[in-house]
Symmetry: C2
Subunit: 426 residues, 2 copies
């Protein structure tokens, strides 16, 4: 239901939300802390949202039947809107069991979590929904981010639904067609004469100056909580809303990795469900990077047998910036801002990071389209693209239950998969 | 759940499905009739699916709680699959109350049924879902249609999910990017050296020759039944699944019109819900055509005060072919093949046909994006584009509850709405 901001339902804190903890130095903050990153560690000190898991377990519920979309999982989210609204009630996307695609890859079981059908056609809507709800709670009516892609489209769509406004900071070289779509939704687009990093830095300066709300996911820890709902939904779908057996839960989940936000959210979701006692195992979460933008996969390979033993500062030092170049623009990231959170989460669930070539990603687009009827953009197919490499490296086996997250629709970049499609002439 | 064809759940007839009736001569046929059109009237003799409404009313239910997506309305559909499957369980899309957009247009209440989030990003998935289910029932594994647009994409996606195959007949001038997407999904694309009409005719010849299943909606009457579920869902959403008051039902629904299939389905849905006694009124359904492709709107205006009194043959004679030219390619139709069914349905609910200029459609794309956060392709915005003309002509009033169907995603034609978007420079 769309209306002016003051008619939006109210939004309250989850009483079991304790606050934040810095992923580098472990310093803790109250829920009301508005600095986004750790006051001691600066931009590297990404915060993690912390809950009272004992209290949630004692409450006996992780599903809120009164709300729809991602808010069904309000007991494991920092916020709870008083009611649904088209500006923030997104989610409830399908999990497909892709039998023919599994057989083609030699797997026994393959699940695909299909987030291509969200309002702006990517998983990023889960983060934007959280941002809009938080802005409503704080009585802030203007949001901003630095992005040329899915985050920008998502913010433009959901602020339009909320009756809020937004500013998008983009590198001047961004494709004008993508920018025009943002303007169509009413966003103010600010071209920045420089790189994405410079656009990001300018966005932070302006956000603080104007007291806007930040929808920069690698900076605002609440947004990872929104993204967490993709995995919460997957687990819920495969266990009959946690009332049935958890034997259909995947043994491993493959997730595309750019800044490291989505993979952090997936690991956190399963670990939290396990902590509060509604699932009996935590899948290994495997991060797939494009070979041309694989700082995490490179550092992980170099870390030897015990990557989980690195401290936050050691992870910061181990993950070296690269010149990122890949067809999968949504994960074309030279230095993942959420690398510490991503690394720690992946290590804690027995996962790993891998890299795949662009040609493998293009092949995965074709396999998804032909054998599962899902049209994915390159980054959206990157998770699936990691299956063969993960098998080769012994990170998964053919008899296990494997899941992949499909994060964005192919209509966002329709040319990317087309090299495989030749048109027969009658 | 995707798997090989023989692992698809079985599909049965609705026991209350009586058969078909020709819209021109009223001749009746059994459910097993496989001629698609009337044996006496030929291609003009489109059939209408007929149910035993008394028996459905007596059964006391129009919702089947055991199935998902559009199959929740199986009691009002010709078929019922034994279980859900990703190849045919689509639907359950949101109805947004668009408060700011209503205020902008001077309306008190505006509902938007948002079918942009279906798997292939258009309402056509509802028809393809029915086609795939019927093919499964008939043990036919290959489907075909003539189309360059949404119907083709939809058929390619859902046959891929079913493990079936399909052939798409396209005019040779069709954009190659759109064709490549079909090939990516595994469709066989057959370019026809000629117009859409010639591609359509060739598709019928080949379908009969090879005993494929026809997914040509203006020809196969079961597909309109699938499309009917958009309006069934809208009514269900606005009445608490028919358990609450029906005071939120729209007084009028605006629907884009090309071949006349979707508008036929919308009228039929509301009339059937009324016949079986679960709603107390039938909205007036108003068909919106692009001014450059408006044979129905022109004939309706010329028909004077009693368009409802025309016989099937008189309607065939009254609706004259035009040279169709509009930005809204999905409704760029020179002679609507389903014109008799569309005309009769619209007349029976007190509706009308109207034409709007392309500029008005482009403005509607911008209004939807900016004030409701929905990105629509031109034909998808055409229903909303008719609001002002409908007000001017007294077909709706500002105090009434108005609904519009948004039928396809803007990412299918991202350039169309962009004329309105100018990018500010910092």
């Amino acid at each position: 239901m769309t209306g002016p901001v003051d008619s939006l339902p109210t939004v309250a804190n989850n009483p079991h939300w304790l606050g934040y903890r810095c992923v580098v130095c472990d310093r803790e903050y109250e829920p009301g802390y508005d600095g986004f990153v750790c006051a001691d560690c600066g931009v590297d000190g990404i915060l993690d949202v912390v809950y009272d898991y004992g209290a949630i377990a004692a409450s006996g519920r992780v599903i809120d039947e009164d709300l729809g979309g991602l808010w069904r999982f309000a007991p494991l989210l920092p916020l709870r809107p008083a009611a649904d609204h088209s500006a923030w009630t997104v989610g409830d996307t399908p999990v497909h069991e892709a039998g023919r695609l599994a057989a083609h890859l030699g797997l026994r079981t393959l699940f695909l979590k299909d987030d291509t059908c969200l309002p702006s056609a990517s998983l990023k809507d889960r983060a934007s929904a959280m941002a809009v709800a938080r802005a409503r709670q704080l009585d802030i009516h203007h949001l901003a981010c630095a992005s040329t892609g899915n985050a920008a489209a998502s913010l433009a769509v959901l602020t339009a639904r909320a009756g809020m406004t937004c500013t998008i900071f983009v590198p001047a070289a961004a494709p004008r067609a993508k920018l025009a779509q943002l303007v169509l939704h009413g966003a103010t687009v600010v071209p920045v004469d420089g790189s994405y990093d410079q656009a990001f830095d300018l966005s932070l300066t302006e956000i603080f100056k104007h007291r806007w709300y930040s929808r920069n996911c690698a900076h605002n820890p609440l947004l990872v909580e929104g993204k967490k709902t993709a995995a919460l939904e997957m687990a819920s779908t495969l266990t009959g809303e946690f009332t049935g057996s958890d034997e259909d839960l995947p043994d491993a989940v493959l997730v595309p990795v750019g800044d490291g936000c989505i993979i952090s959210s997936v690991c956190k979701a399963f670990r939290e469900l396990h902590k509060v006692g509604v699932i009996g195992k935590v899948p290994r979460v495997i991060g797939i990077q494009a070979a041309g933008a694989a700082p995490l996969a490179k550092a992980w390979a170099a870390a030897g047998k015990s990557p989980g033993e690195l401290s936050g500062r050691e992870i910061l030092a181990a993950v070296r910036p690269v010149e990122a170049e890949t067809i999968a623009d949504s994960i074309q990231v030279g230095i993942p801002r959420n690398r510490v959170k991503a690394w720690r989460n992946v290590a804690s669930c027995g996962g790993a990071f891998l890299a795949v070539e662009d040609e493998t990603i293009v092949e995965a687009i074709g396999m998804l389209a032909r054998l599962a009827g899902i049209f994915a953009e390159p980054s959206g197919a990157a998770g699936l693209a990691g299956v063969t490499a993960a098998l080769d490296q012994g990170l998964i086996t053919k008899k296990e239950k494997i899941a992949a997250l499909v994060t964005g629709h192919g209509l966002k970049d329709p040319g990317a998969g087309m090299a495989k499609g030749s048109i027969p002439v009658q």
